[in-house]
Subunit: 272 residues, 2 copies
Amino acid sequence: MVRVSFQGERGAYSEEAVINFFGNEVDFLPLPYLSDVFRSVESSSSDYAVVPIENSLEGSVSETYDLLLNSSVKIVGESILRVRHCFMIHPEAELSGIKEVWSHPQALSQCRKFIEKMKLKPVPFYDTAGSAKAISEKGILTAGAIASCRAASFYNLKVVEKGIEDSENNFTRFIVIGTKEVKKGQNNKTSLIFGTPHSPGSLYRALKVFADSGINLTKIESRPTKAKPWEYYFFVDFVGNVDDQKVKDALEELKKVTTFIKLLGSYPAELV
Amino acid sequence: MVRVSFQGERGAYSEEAVINFFGNEVDFLPLPYLSDVFRSVESSSSDYAVVPIENSLEGSVSETYDLLLNSSVKIVGESILRVRHCFMIHPEAELSGIKEVWSHPQALSQCRKFIEKMKLKPVPFYDTAGSAKAISEKGILTAGAIASCRAASFYNLKVVEKGIEDSENNFTRFIVIGTKEVKKGQNNKTSLIFGTPHSPGSLYRALKVFADSGINLTKIESRPTKAKPWEYYFFVDFVGNVDDQKVKDALEELKKVTTFIKLLGSYPAELV
């Protein structure tokens, strides 16, 4: 059975993303920190990991980008999850007795309308699934949790309402990381990091390479180099596979206008 | 006296940035959330506000970018702060009795070497200055706080060590927001937001306008539109003033290749 690690408690949204990609028949390895998740793949303690990289409302997950820069792992796939928040309470609790709602601050802010309607006091928690776990284990009867419905069934909680998020445009894109590159398939996407010289127009010259080659960028993200203030690395995703002649030629051109390039992998895209 | 709001408790790093820019003779207005800070400027409850936009190690402050998109405020200046973390304890505490260190998770992770050397248990707190305040108000003798030295003097704590951050490259760039645009000066910088059509090469065509006009971009940041998944707004900073003919011409060209443009302001740059 393939072993797949993810960040968070059992029942986390990352676990749903694991199932989306690999199905139910996997050995789940929940780990407390994203850095642990990367290390577990690097050291072969897990075969793969599924980590969040971007949410359609909150933006990029900076920590994942920074870990990709310094890690030897490859991106082998992606998985897009529609985030459906559920409100759950202890099976012995009465809804009329619930005064608080526990969850991660982002989940609380994404369910503001529901929380106001129910007249609950929001209480920030380190983790969505962790808040469900706490209510279950401590037998809390005066607070509910916002987490995935999977967390409710995992911790034997009663789901009061499903899909309580304010916006329907709440998606998280996860990447699947592993140690071996995947074979070329249909609808491929490639992710890479490049550095630019600290001179005017350097980002433009790098993007010109893609435009001149007719390669479609689907995402660009800047991250500080940390070595020098106000200098950045750029992370790009584009349509194509590193084995395509067009992409090979573009990467040769890109080398001429960048200070370094790191290929993160070519993999089947879930949307292009 | 000019009234300046900022996010956090008294003694926050944002308060240091206020003093950097305005000097000591201001009426400080600390507010709990960044959204409150923007609202206080919009409603003229404060004349200006100083808000963090980017840290050289952690990257951009997404919430500030999102608030700029939806607010009517103008950027009127910037202030760059070298972040110097200080370790402080209650004046009646003995260092040998200190077992824990309280602070914001980012400050804790930026002082990892010091915390390991002192064999302290890190305890995450909502705010750096808030952790100093709590130790002072609750008379805690077994935990210290990591915050600005200004917080130590504000809450009457004893500074044990200054400059305990792992990296010397720890700078935060703050922007000063107000309601009136500033007059053109030397070394100007301009910030604006643009949207691009959802078609291949659209970001490249926008950046081409700046490159062709010889305008130097100092920063680019993408943020999700929230209205439609995987579509982005781009925030750029560039050298120049909206009153420069070169910039006026470039903005006319930019209009042709973008779906919308919002000018955030031209202001004196602290570094270009």
